[in-house]
Assembly symmetry: C2
């Protein structure tokens, strides 16, 4: 003798798992599995309302025998008879909790149906929808009187009709599922908004950085290239595994910002110096060398830029201590600045300047190698050579 | 005869409401109410784990008789006997599901307790904690083996002991509550992150805008004042109700950005023109008048700036069509640009310039009034006068 399934326990378990699943796709799979496994149907379809398009999109369980929905039936519109049955009061003559195909068939061939041709024709259309999806039962999921989803259930493996216990389980499950779906949607909306804001932020920083770069007419595209090179170099440093950092992701985010803004301080350098066609004299060089500190003081107003400003402030320091503004040495130079320093130099060497043509990449690499332990940290040079040799830059 | 309470139904109802409450405070009230009302206790206390401080913070129901927690007992540390009872396996001798004061008392005065003085002393400390909160029962809330919360229940109104049904209800409620709390916390974290990112974004835009403003040495603080005035004026326009917009909040956000960036295009204007100490000649004026279009082309790279760029591009248009860059007229000038135009002019008039001292506010207002229907839209002038007359600017 089989023991009676404990639907209450099933529901509690499913509900508990559902509330913490915030990926809609995963959630839908979880719900469909909870139906197919516990009620033992051959398959189950969940039609989920798409708010944007105001239509219902099908998700199908991978039950034992599955169900291949013909393309074109993967979505149903809100004027589909199945939807109308639950959303139009005068149409749900068997109640709004569920709709069973047997009952539908019985009614259609009854005397009562003959009298109401319009209703009969409507229910025949509903039956046709049932047949399309091999469905034996249909349950709605409402949220505040809005039809959020619709479950279509295939035949049970034992070919028997659905019991009251099963239908009760399904009803509660459907209403729990609606809550979980709404919850997951809210989460996805928030996450989308977060990603969206991140993009907006980076686009804005990039637009402003590029605008400022435009003042320096010899360095077109420099900012963008430096930020691309930095990302590649950071990736290499991470995979080399010689630097132990827990927060690589945060570091990469900060590096991106620092790379975009590393020359922001040039806004404070005189145009005549910035655009001088030739070598700078001492006074002009000092004017130019203000830019890391100007950049620092601009970005220092932004609470969250503690790490990026280090990149901006120290990207002209040298490993041997001969750089500016502070003459920091070796490991005292923040990693973020070391990364920018090398890619900044590489890009400067390989692009044309008013007073010289850009070097070939291999020539620039030679200079960088020669400066290992002098201008640049040996480890960073090692990583840089790796990305050069593998053709990544 | 009283009907037996249907705890199953209570649970389903509470669980359903809980999942959609994402404000932790509201959720906690809901949970405590579900205890006090359905189990009829005089009060209930929820100790909720604070991840940051690794302590448990008390939230008290406003049951009929309430409970005033002496200050100092509103938080308990993780070494509190109540917490230790549930987190240390060897201590929870009555099981980990709940702890009842009667059972505790019984054990403490038993022979068994006499033999294990250490345990007895520990349980006496637990009992002391019970007495502090007038508690008769205590239930834990675990999430993945972590103690997230602890419920302390006061006496029932009927002074009887807790029934198995009640304890069963409370156990499931506690575990549902933990899920809902974790869910709400995730929501709050995401929302905090969103707000945080918004702040970061505005701070960054402001820092960069200010940096660019610094090029124009006569306009210190202009950007900030324009953005403050815009916000006040937008508020006034909204409350006047003469402009019908569904999206005022979005408009205000966009206006904030546009105000901060309205002069961003000055980055493309020659320093000599920007900083000229005197009136500009025709050629210089044309150079200066490039700035709205330069600003437009900088910000045009940012997808989401459709509305802000209109403010930047058109803030030098005039209501009578005599402005630049396009000579737009009347209602063809986007509202966002009309707002910036008037506050920009007001600030320019009231601050010192190299070739003249700033006007008094009342003098500037007079000029603005004279320009009603000429430089400025009559409606905007009307709103501007209101904020001036009420002392808001």
């Amino acid at each position: 003798m089989k023991t009676k399934p404990d639907y209450r326990r099933y529901l509690e378990m499913v509900a508990k798992r559902m509330i913490l699943v915030h990926k809609l796709d995963t959630l839908i799979k979880l719900i469909l599995r909870a139906i197919v496994r516990n009620v033992h149907t051959k398959h189950a379809v969940l039609f989920l309302h798409d708010q944007g398009k105001d239509e219902y999109v099908a998700h199908v369980s991978r039950g034992k025998e599955g169900l291949k929905i013909p393309s074109g039936f993967a979505k149903i519109r809100k004027d589909n008879p199945l939807i109308r049955y639950f959303t139009e009061k005068e149409l749900n003559i068997f109640g709004r909790d569920f709709l069973i195909s047997d009952r539908l068939n019985y009614f259609i061939s009854s005397k009562k149906a003959k009298k109401d041709k319009k209703l009969k024709s409507f229910l025949e259309n509903v039956r046709f929808q049932f047949s399309l999806y091999n469905a034996k039962a249909c349950l709605p999921g409402f949220f505040e009187d809005k039809l959020i989803c619709l479950f279509l259930l295939g035949q049970k493996h034992d070919r028997k009709v659905f019991t009251q216990d099963e239908l009760g389980y399904l009803s509660v499950l459907s209403s729990d599922a609606v809550m979980a779906i709404q919850n997951a949607r809210l989460f996805e909306d928030l996450k989308t908004q977060l990603e969206h804001n991140r993009t907006l932020f980076l686009q804005t920083v990039k637009a402003l950085a590029t605008a400022i770069e435009a003042k320096d007419k010899y360095t077109s595209g420099h900012t963008e290239r430096v930020s691309i090179y930095s990302m590649i170099l950071a990736q290499e440093l991470k995979s080399m595994g010689k630097i132990s950092r827990k927060d690589w992701d945060k570091f990469v985010d900060d590096l991106k910002i620092a790379s975009l803004l590393h020359d922001i301080g040039k806004i404070g350098v005189k145009e005549t110096v910035l655009n001088k066609n030739g070598f700078l004299n001492d006074e002009e060089r000092l004017e130019m060398q203000k830019h890391p500190l100007v950049g620092f003081s601009i970005l220092n107003q932004v609470d969250e830029f503690q790490e990026p400003i280090l990149g901006v402030k120290y990207h002209h320091e040298r490993y041997d201590g001969g750089g500016y503004p502070e003459g920091l040495k070796g490991k005292n130079i923040p990693l973020i600045a070391q990364v920018i320093s090398i890619v900044d130099t590489f890009d400067a060497l390989t692009t044309d300047r008013p007073y010289r043509k850009g070097l070939l990449k291999e020539e620039a690499i030679k200079i960088i190698e020669e400066n290992k332990g002098k201008q640049f940290s040996p480890l960073i040079v090692e990583a840089f050579l790796k990305i050069y040799n593998s053709g990544k830059i």
